[in-house]
Symmetry: C2
Subunit: 192 residues, 2 copies
C-alpha cells in the first residue's frame, strides 16, 4: 500500500488529466464526423444505384417500366440532403482534425460546429423521415386512397431503398451524438 | 461628445452586464419552449380535426368515402411525435421557469435540456418530413407508380394537413433555435 501511494503523485504530475480528456473528446468528434460522412455517402450511393426495370402489364401487354429515384421528389430531397450532409461531414472532419493541432481555438470552433450540427440534424432527420414514409408506402401501399404497393415488383429498388434509409438513420443518430458530445465538452469547460 | 462619454461609466457601474444577459437568455428560452408547446398542440389539433367525407365513384356508384389521418401510418407517426413534443415543450417550459428562480443549477439543467432538445429535434424533423412527403404525394400524385392525387377531392383534409405541416416546420425551427440558444449560453460561461 505504501509503495502504491508513493508512486501516485509521480503519475499525476507526469500526465495532466484535463487536457488528455479534452483530447479524447476531440478524437471521438473526428471519428463521429467521419462516420457521418461515410453514412451519408453510403446512403446516397445505395439509392443512386437502385435503378431497376421490370416488365409491367399495360393494357394487357407487358412493357418495360423502370423504377428510378428521380421519379420521386421525396427521394430527390433525400439524395440532396445527404449529399449536403456528406460534404459537411468531410469538411468538418478536416476542421476537427486541424482544431486538435490548434487547441487554442477549440471551444470557439466547437460552438460553431454545434450550431451547424443542429441545422444538419434537422435536414437529415427530415430527409430520412420523408424517404421512410415513401418507402413504407411502396412496401405496404394504402388501400384507403388506392395507392398500390410496388415493392413486390421492384424488389431490388426497395432493398436499396431500405439499406439507404437504415444508413441514413444511423447518420442521424451520429449527428445527435455529435451535438451531445459538443455540448458535454462545452459544459466540462464551464467553471463549477 | 464630452458629456456623453462622462455619463458612460455611471451607466456601466449601475447595471452589471453579465447576470442581466444571462437572465435575458433564460426568458427567451422560456418563450421559445412555450412556442414549441404551442406549435406542437396546433399541429396535432389541426390534423386531428381534418376528417372529411366525400362522395367517390365506386364501380359507377357514388359512395361516401372518408379521409382520416388514422388511415396513414405516416400521419399517425406525425401526431405521435408532436404529442410527445407538445408534452416536452410544456414540461420544459415549467422546468425553465423554475430554473430562473434557482440560477445555481442553471448550467447543469441547460446541458440536460440541450441533450433532450437534440433528441426531440430528430423526432419532430423526421415527423415533419414524413408528413410533408405524404402530403406532397396527395397534392401532386406520382404517375410513374400510379399513385393518384387526392387533394382535388379532399380539399379540407389537405388544407388542414398543409396548415399542420407549416406549424410543424415552425416548431422544428424553434427547436433548432433552442439548441443554438443553450449552446451559446453555455459558451458564454466558458472562461476566455
Amino acid at each position: 500500500m505504501a509503495s502504491t501511494t508513493s508512486t501516485e503523485p509521480v503519475i499525476k504530475s507526469s500526465s495532466a488529466p484535463i487536457p488528455l480528456a479534452a483530447l479524447d473528446y476531440s478524437k471521438i468528434d473526428v471519428i463521429l464526423r467521419f462516420l457521418l460522412f461515410g453514412a451519408s455517402v453510403s446512403a446516397v450511393a445505395s439509392i443512386v444505384s437502385s435503378d431497376q426495370t421490370e416488365l409491367v402489364l399495360f393494357q394487357g401487354v407487358p412493357v418495360p417500366n423502370p423504377a428510378k429515384f428521380k421519379y420521386s421528389p421525396a427521394l430527390i430531397y433525400f439524395v440532396s440532403a445527404f449529399s449536403v450532409s456528406g460534404l459537411y461531414g468531410l469538411f468538418t472532419t478536416i476542421v476537427s482534425i486541424s482544431v486538435i493541432q490548434k487547441p487554442r481555438y477549440k471551444l470557439k470552433f466547437l460552438l460553431h460546429l454545434l450550431l451547424c450540427d443542429a441545422l444538419i440534424l434537422g435536414i437529415v432527420a427530415s430527409a430520412t423521415g420523408t424517404a421512410g414514409g415513401i418507402a413504407y408506402l411502396g412496401l405496404k401501399g394504402n388501400s384507403h386512397v388506392g395507392w398500390i404497393k410496388v415493392c413486390n415488383v421492384y424488389d431490388k429498388f426497395c432493398r436499396h431503398l431500405a439499406g439507404s434509409i437504415a444508413t441514413a438513420l444511423f447518420g442521424s443518430i451520429v449527428d445527435v451524438l455529435l451535438i451531445w458530445l459538443s455540448a458535454y465538452t462545452l459544459h466540462t469547460h464551464v467553471p463549477k
